[in-house]
Symmetry: D2
Subunit: 361 residues, 4 copies
């Protein structure tokens, strides 16, 4: 079996392999009569696109979206929206090596074990390429949430992610929510210039050494309507968690104070309810904007940790298809750090998660 749909009210179904003709997605449940901004959609695709800088995988794709249903004369029709994204730069020969050798830390051995066979050209379904369809779907969700009318009288809901850490380079804590322009001004999507330079340096070194680097992304949701989230099993953190933990390479997620909350007392961690003008809010925001699985109305913030990419160029001991020990040295096309390109993926999944819950309020 497999499960390739996510969502209850706005449902993303993902399909395609990294080396088939297309990857794609179907987005079902999108309200009708919404005018889609194709330029904004394409711009979001560019943020995820491989080959966008010298720091990413050398695979080169334009990642142009083909919208094949659900939109008529620029407007959504209420019927399922289907996307195709062509795979142009597929050089299966690059992967001949991997046909009979299982990469350490990679899912190919597990796909082979679970399904009895696999498409060994690239990662198949475990490739980061699959997220192209997610980003397209997330971009539409973002456009929907960004309108002031997404929820009664609400301000536009705005989701912003940035790179907070790459290996040993950490962004100092921010006392503001950065804009996308500030984030994208950096090749590594970190709004702090010094941290950014350090990160670039680390990635360049890793690339040269055939190695890869882990890191962390921070994400903020502004103007989430108070009460968003469905007790008991559609809690806001559980739904966000389900979407974010579906991203390859994510190894953890935490909200508000995160793992530091273990070190706190109730009297330190509780956020007091206060009136802010005519709206209820909290004086502090240790909870990260979520209490009891519902939005407090304060900015939601969470942290996502990424492992370093498993495909590296360094020599590693592993097993081959005959389950004999062998040494692997994956050539050429390795991606030293996925974090910068993961920013739009985190945003896309968060936009989809929030829209799914919003349609249920």
């Amino acid at each position: 079996m497999s499960r390739n749909s996510i969502g209850k009210n706005i449902i993303l179904t993902s399909f395609g392999e990294s080396h088939g003709p297309f990857v794609g997605a179907v987005l079902d449940g999108f309200p009708s009569g919404f005018t889609i901004d194709i330029n904004a959609l394409n711009a979001d695709m560019q943020r995820r696109r491989p080959g966008q800088s010298h720091l990413t995988t050398p695979r080169d794709e334009t990642d142009e979206i083909q919208l094949i249903s659900g939109v008529f004369e620029g407007q959504t029709t209420g019927t399922p929206i289907a996307f195709l994204i062509a795979n142009n730069d597929t050089k299966p020969k690059d992967y001949d090596l991997l046909k009979d050798t299982y990469r350490p830390g990679h899912a190919d051995l597990l796909y082979q074990t679970k399904y009895g066979l696999r498409d060994h050209r690239g990662g198949g379904r475990s490739s980061a390429r699959i997220t192209a369809g997610w980003v397209a779907a997330g971009s539409l969700a973002k456009q929907y949430l960004n309108q002031p009318t997404a929820f009664q009288n609400s301000q536009p809901i705005k989701i912003t992610a940035w790179v907070n850490q790459i290996y040993l380079a950490v962004c100092p804590e921010l006392d503001y929510i950065p804009t996308q322009a500030q984030i994208d001004a950096s090749l590594v999507r970190c709004p702090n210039e010094q941290a950014s330079l350090k990160m670039i340096e680390l990635i360049e070194a890793a690339k040269q050494n055939g190695d890869s680097l882990g890191g962390m992304i921070c994400c903020t949701i502004e103007n989430c309507p108070i009460g968003l989230g469905e007790p008991l099993f559609g809690k806001l953190q559980a739904v966000i968690g389900q979407y974010i933990l579906s991203i390859n390479a994510v190894k953890g997620i935490s909200f508000g104070e995160g793992f530091n909350v273990a070190n706190l007392k109730g009297s330190e961690n509780n956020d007091s309810w206060v009136l802010k003008g005519d709206k209820v809010g909290t004086d502090t925001n240790h909870s990260g904007g979520i209490i009891g699985g519902m939005a407090t109305g304060e900015p939601i913030n969470f942290q996502v940790v990424f492992k370093p990419t498993s495909t590296i160029a360094k020599a590693q001991t592993t097993l081959n298809a005959q389950l004999q020990e062998t040494t692997l040295m994956a050539a050429g096309r390795h991606d030293p750090c996925v974090l910068p390109r993961a920013v739009p993926i985190v945003e896309a999944m968060t936009n989809l998660a929030i829209m799914d819950l919003l349609l249920e309020m």
Copy 2:
């Protein structure tokens, strides 16, 4: 709306309020012909029961299970298993104070806002009491997974959780998986004696001060069949995450190296595939037993962080029902630390998550 069912193949539906006649649950999809060990079920209930030690909430409940369907002459019949757990120690007067005052850090204001009304006696649906039904359901899942025949030729799948941190007391890293006996030998369910004593001391102090403490629980899954987990959106970590993040007070989850993975290079973090006898495994286990959303066959381990309980006896500023500022001092029945009683809840939710995926393999 609300969403009170979780699972695809073995579905838990939760119902009941903390101060109604019963809390309960329905467990649908449990295979037929399984002999239930009622004593084991009751023993699991005792581990979650309030009032089990002087360190927990003073609410006193026997938490006896009434099995009202799905079991005939000791065996499951394949039909839905329904449980009731009576609420005996309900003293609504204790909560009169809370009728008109919203607790800082607590969901009661949000329930009131979202639904327009709420059962103000205790936490209603946000009460930890609701987890009694989860633990009952999880106990059956555990019994199912513990049998050697749960999955073809597999060893019994065994899920073990323990308290790793309470406030500033941290359990030293273990180089073994503790037994339940070792864990339950400690009042705070921490297998290290010294840490345990320190934790008890901290809780006693917090209780006296009317305060509460955060902490961390570690959980391990042994003998998870290789390949468990359903790409793309039923990834093992995403499903576990969805269940665990449904527990009130959980603010984060991480797998294997956890948030430390941000500090690692691929060459440091990759686990090499090796043969162990006739089974595939990995030489190290940085991944925590999960790669590409599927079990590697190695022990799965993850970390769960809990915030301190929001209901404390200390004076706090907050809003009343008229949205005026007020001071709250919740009397008597506060729970200084939920971590020890949360251990069986983490185990229950993990057992349910794993059984759900196992039934799909």
Copy 3:
């Protein structure tokens, strides 16, 4: 496995066996702040109750509802509503005979085969008794739909079912929609007096002969909002069909012209769109109020056919538990005709189906 939940937005979960302590249900997704009319709920239960006339099964139950969660001070709280209905008149000895003999036309052999065991006392989960929980849930859905504010500016949505045929007695075609008072004035719930008398006569004869009778129920939905129904796989007729075909003994459902539509030309069957005041409607209603899976705004009508109850007192050839041929003569407690008691069940399932779709509009 088994599947005991139905619905996407308002979800009914059913549990309980005919001879356990209770049957019951959980209804999740019901909007908060709705004032429940307990008397109306109990009145609906009385319409389904066994033993309500000399024409039904002699099992005698009061079928009082215990509401154990989701309602506080008379109002729904938005949390799951759970019901219990006690099984009082359980005389397992009556069923000793059936422990080792499989009834012709009955599911007990199939439960035994599928699950490897069964609760042989009464029908277990296949008993009509299970529908007590459905009728309770359906009654709440009915109360919800009956309010003028169920959907923007809509009139109360009203669902009415009646017995149209019992064996050879057929109700003449009605040119009006009967009221519940008109229907309940008849012991067999047929609004035509002569047909009604004939039906009663046929049932009395069947009872005396130890036999049972099939029949048909008609159902009408008034004031269904135009456009209700979700293309492609939540079509109005498919959703109603799924709910109605879940009722034991139902062997078919048809809409509008029903099976007669096979004999029609497009020019005869098409309903022309016309303006009726300021609302769109159709001049004729061959379609039964549904086109393309959506409501046209005209009254929806459909027909449901029921097989005669399988448990009869006449001698029948069958197999015993050892799979040897035997003769069965089920004593005493047979129900000669379920149709009159099935009327509230058809209404309940239709109310739930319509409410499920309405919450999605």
Copy 4:
């Protein structure tokens, strides 16, 4: 909203409009390692293809399948299988007339009302063209069920549908299950030669008169494993009903004796359990192979009634986009009878329904 996925274990997601570049589908949950017979898939597509005889719609399509994921070197990989079918013969001008006029009996007015806009070129999502993706998916399900190993020791499960009635021409009752060759020997897919000739005659006359004809299809499932179907809400008839009632133009479904069961007594309708060799079966099959929502092991048979196509060439009164009365005379491309082409659609949906339940046993 809209709901464009169906199934729990093998999930069909449908997308595409009749006049977009493609229609298509994603089939998720198909077991891995299954060798697909592409020729058989294309042959099934040809049976549904428009323009296959002079009796159908004149739209001419090759309906070639593009398999874009989930199959590698001829075998399923366990990942979602996605299909595209190009729309070649799209002459939007043919539909200019329909831009501003709502067809009687057609869903275009309802799409416009529900969604506020629609793709007026052809039927959009309500077009029969959408079923091309269903037939492709159903063909794979059929190949899966046809293998002897689909279920433990079972014979190949074989689903056969044929036209039983077109308008006043009725096929005499068959005392055998016809082969596909026998069915396809007839242009109208009726295995009786005389009825077939009469049907052809009626369709030719209807075509000439610009009219359309209703009819009935019979369907049989052979070798369904005993016990297939999931109580209570995955009953075999409810699941088949949900799939079949999703087909445009279907107005009713009945099982076994169908609506005639209203005229029967229990003693006439009950099927006695008997041993047939070493297998349990029934002496008669009034139940149509389904009791208590589960398969009895006997052949399952059901009847499906279709309304005549709503788009006809005769003059009809209707409303235009300004809701003024007008007269419509839809030119040229009308389909006088969908029944022959609906045979593979009924089979496809039944194959998918049965496979969905089979994967749960």
